[in-house]
């Protein structure tokens, strides 16, 4: 009896393996619709490190779920490997059966924990097949347990043993189908295969070697104009969509979703899956884009935007990277949003709201607001701020950015210059030679406009001699530090929080001696300083350095909520139920401090734009200047 059960297991194993391979071949043919991409096969070797280190960084934030996954997936993989040895290769060793039993127990526990969580599933989780997955996994684990146990202790059991064997085989077949068919039919277990391959062939492979948050340039000369159809994605980008486990962590983190704007990043990724699988996968069973139907109609051959995806969904994104930061499968939502926007902007010219006006201003005046370049430094007229001349040298070059045209933010800029002067920093500006950095153009999809501005700025900066650049605008900072290098501009760029931190640490800023204790306040992390550049500590150290206690909001640092400005969202202004800055102001109110420190001209404008009673919004430099001796 035990002999025949073992053979049945061998048959089942190979059947499963064949089905899995067939499914993988089918799925791979879907990925092949995409463009070619330069990937390294060595990625396969790097997979374990990426799995255990990089993914761990993300999932460790939710330890209970991580434990359940370790048990279920670890147990499952071990069962598969052991079965491959013992039954696939027909070794039929008793001690391997003992190990199998142990691993089955581990997997059973993991699946049990998952099932318990599913009983009170948070709304961000998808239902449908995902809801029943833990039960299927339990079935598989139980089947393995019974079969291996039986084989180990079997011959004595007689008729009962035969019955158990049949039950075990049934369980294995049912549970195993979930594993074997997942990749081919787009069922939940697709994530295991696609997820591992995604780790190996990640479209942003640099992220495993350090921070990587820059948008990649389009080769405009070669006619690249963004993504219109599924075929315009790189194949490994299509693969990345299939890695999604529909955990909804992106959904829970997304400010646009919370504001009721028609964007759910999880659904966005699933829309891409629907587009590439031409709707053959099981229907999506999660939350829709707010205010929209969950069902999509896939029309093969049609542009993605306008068929599976509404343009408003695309334009709601603030590119805050909260989704990317939280995604356990390391999916890069912002890349996809911007790639799709590029097509809509560059090919169709359909930028909604004030977005097209901002882009026209950039084309015509090199500023977002349509200002004359010559007035950018008018606020500094009495500050004796040197205008750098070509050939002259300065230690620090200050780029004020677009905030220089805003009367409110000019106060912050004046404060910054005063502090730098008090600290004896050798700083100068470009005056009318400074153009917009191109941030808004790029995030709105106008890659051509961005590259024009970036190249013009790089050419301008090449005429001057300076050691470092400092800017109070995190968007300018991010563009220059991370996105200009791809276009040939290498600069040593500092955000002003970093410079202030540095000066305070060296006691270069003369502070008032009488340390009247200052009331605590809270700090709003700008996305483009924080999540984009890991600049979490510098601003906090500055506040500490001038003796102010920071009461952090519940969502701060890595989890900070966007102010709503980024990605040109303040210009496209897609309506929702609430406004994102209003929600952020609620976060600020919760701290009870009544004051919030900011470190970005755009956060300043968004938070000060909140109507009704609100906390005072104070720029970092303004706080420091108050403490000057």
């Amino acid at each position: 009896m035990s002999f025949s059960l073992a053979h049945a297991l061998t048959g089942l194993f190979w059947l499963g393996a064949l089905l899995l391979l067939g499914g993988l071949a089918r799925r791979a043919s879907l990925w092949q619709q995409g463009r070619s991409a330069s990937v390294s096969w060595l990625g396969l070797l790097a997979m374990p490190k990426r799995y255990f280190v990089d993914i761990h960084h993300v999932v460790a934030r939710e330890p209970a779920v991580a434990r359940a996954h370790v048990a279920a997936a670890g147990g499952g993989v071990a069962i598969l490997l052991l079965s491959a040895l013992n039954y696939g290769l027909m070794l039929y060793q008793g001690w391997l059966d003992v190990l199998l039993v142990l691993m089955a127990v581990v997997m059973l526990l993991g699946a049990r924990m998952m099932q318990a969580r599913r009983l009170q599933a948070p709304p961000r989780l998808s239902q449908g097949r995902w809801q029943v997955l833990p039960a299927r996994l339990r079935l598989f684990a139980l089947g393995s347990l019974l079969a291996a146990g039986l084989l180990f202790a079997g011959p004595q059991l007689g008729l009962a043993g035969q019955l158990i064997a049949v039950v075990a085989l049934l369980m294995l077949a049912l549970g195993g189908a979930e594993l074997a068919l997942g990749i081919g039919l787009g069922w939940p277990m697709k994530h295991a295969v696609a997820g591992l391959l995604h780790l190996a062939f990640h479209p942003r492979v640099e992220r495993f070697a350090g921070k990587s948050s820059d948008l990649k340039p389009l080769n405009l000369a070669a006619g690249e104009l963004g993504v219109a159809k599924v075929e315009d994605f790189a194949w490994n980008r299509l693969l990345s969509f299939d890695a999604c486990v529909q955990c909804g962590k992106c959904e829970a983190a997304c400010p646009a979703y919370a504001a009721g704007q028609p964007l759910n990043p999880k659904k966005l990724i699933q829309d891409m899956v629907a587009a590439q699988s031409r709707g053959t996968d099981p229907a999506y069973a999660g939350n829709p884009h707010p205010g929209r139907e969950a069902t999509v109609v896939v029309k093969p051959g049609e542009d993605i935007v306008g068929s599976v995806l509404a343009a408003e969904t695309l334009w709601s994104c603030t590119t805050c990277r909260a989704c990317v930061e939280n995604c356990p499968m390391l999916i890069e939502h912002v890349d996809t949003v911007v790639n799709l926007r590029r097509h809509v902007t560059l090919s169709r010219g359909e930028v909604p709201g004030k977005g097209s006006e901002a882009l026209a201003n950039l084309r015509n005046t090199d500023t977002v607001g349509g200002y004359p370049l010559a007035v950018r430094y008018h606020w500094a007229i009495d500050l004796d701020l040197p205008l750098l001349q070509p050939g002259e040298h300065t230690e620090w070059l200050l780029l004020a950015g677009e905030g220089a045209f805003d009367m409110r933010y000019q106060r912050a800029l004046r404060a910054l210059v005063k502090v730098l002067k008090a600290a004896g920093v050798n700083v100068a500006v470009l005056g009318a030679a400074e153009r917009d950095c191109g941030d808004v153009a790029r995030r709105l999809g106008d890659e051509a406009g961005f590259q024009r501005l970036a190249q013009a700025n790089i050419a301008t900066l090449a005429q001057y001699r300076f050691a470092h650049i400092v800017t109070p605008d995190p968007h300018v900072f991010h563009c220059l530090a991370n996105e200009y290098p791809a276009l040939g501009g290498q600069f040593d760029v500092w955000h002003h929080s970093k410079l202030l931190e540095h000066l305070l640490a060296r006691r270069a800023i003369p502070l008032k001696a009488d340390a009247t204790p200052l009331p605590p306040l809270t700090f709003h992390d700008p996305c483009y300083l924080g999540r984009y550049n890991d600049g979490f500590n510098a601003p906090r150290n500055v506040l500490k350095g001038i003796g102010i206690k920071v009461v952090d909001m519940q969502r701060s640092g890595r989890d900070a909520r966007c102010c709503g400005w980024g990605g040109g969202a303040a210009f496209t202004d897609i309506p929702g139920q609430r406004r994102i800055p209003d929600m952020r102001m609620d976060d600020i109110r919760e701290t009870g401090t009544g004051r919030v420190a900011v470190a970005c001209p755009n956060c300043t404008a968004m938070l000060e734009g909140v109507v009704g009673e609100r906390a005072d919004v104070i720029e970092l430099a303004e706080l420091v200047v108050e403490r000057l001796a």
Partner: protein
């Protein structure tokens, strides 16, 4: 039906860079609404880069009559446009030396009627109708007959959005042309503007009272205090309709 659209670079009011003029864009948009055969014409000395905005905004092909600077564009244009039953242009160029006279001179030269400040043109039962913009938001509908020159108001619906792909695909075809020298421009000091005299000398508050306080035939205003917001809005809407300030 083949339609000719005249365009010219505008001067950006802030930076002084060449860009597309609003009225010319509106003319382009109107032509594209009316027909799929739209020929876009430019006469003058501007280089291709100055016309780029029009390519990006939907002109697929621009015929340029290249003239030396300071030459008159009227006669070469008139010659090129003779065979078009409908010629559309912006009511005036966006800045620069434009005088706003070209539509009139062109119509005269071609021996046709000029329909100025058009917002929309449509054809029903072989009859053309034009919606014309008048000052203070007043609109009127006119019957029109081809051949015709129409100047399009800057507030008419604008052309499609700016697109890099269209800019790349658009073509500019240059043909050398000759025109007479522009007449000498004579500058003279502006006449002293007549000082505005207020029609009545009462205070603003008193005038507001006069406008809204009812009774004794003193006022044309109505003060609506009764009714819910829908009824009040209806009164406003009726007023706007009566004065042709909205057209729905």
């Amino acid at each position: 039906m083949k339609i000719a659209v005249l365009i010219a670079p505008a001067v950006h009011p802030v930076s002084g860079r060449p860009c597309a003029g609003e009225a010319d864009l509106a003319a382009l948009a109107l032509a594209q609404r009316l027909s799929s055969q739209v020929d876009v014409w430019y006469a003058g000395a501007a280089d291709d880069a100055a016309l780029a905005d029009y390519l990006a905004r939907g002109a697929t092909h621009i015929h340029t009559l290249a003239l030396a600077a300071g030459r008159e564009v009227l006669s070469p244009l008139a010659e090129a446009l003779q065979d078009y039953a409908l010629v559309l242009c912006g009511a005036r160029a966006g800045g620069g030396d434009g005088s706003g006279l070209l539509p009139y001179q062109l119509a005269e030269q071609l021996g046709r009627a000029l329909l100025p400040d058009v917002l929309d043109l449509s054809k029903s039962d072989q009859q053309w109708q034009a919606l014309q913009a008048l000052p203070k938001g007043v609109r009127r509908t006119l019957a029109a007959k081809l051949p015709l020159v129409a100047s399009v108001h800057a507030r008419a619906a604008s052309a499609v959005g700016w697109s890099y792909a269209r800019l790349q695909q658009g073509k500019i075809q240059r043909k050398a042309a000759t025109g007479a020298a522009l007449p000498q421009v004579v500058l003279e000091p502006a006449r002293r503007a007549r000082a505005l005299v207020a029609a009545s000398k009462v205070s603003g508050h008193a005038r507001m009272q006069g406008a809204i306080a009812g009774g004794e035939g003193k006022s044309a205003g109505i003060v609506v205090k009764q009714g819910d917001s829908v009824e009040k809005a209806q009164v406003v809407l009726d007023y706007l309709r009566q004065h042709q300030l909205v057209d729905f």
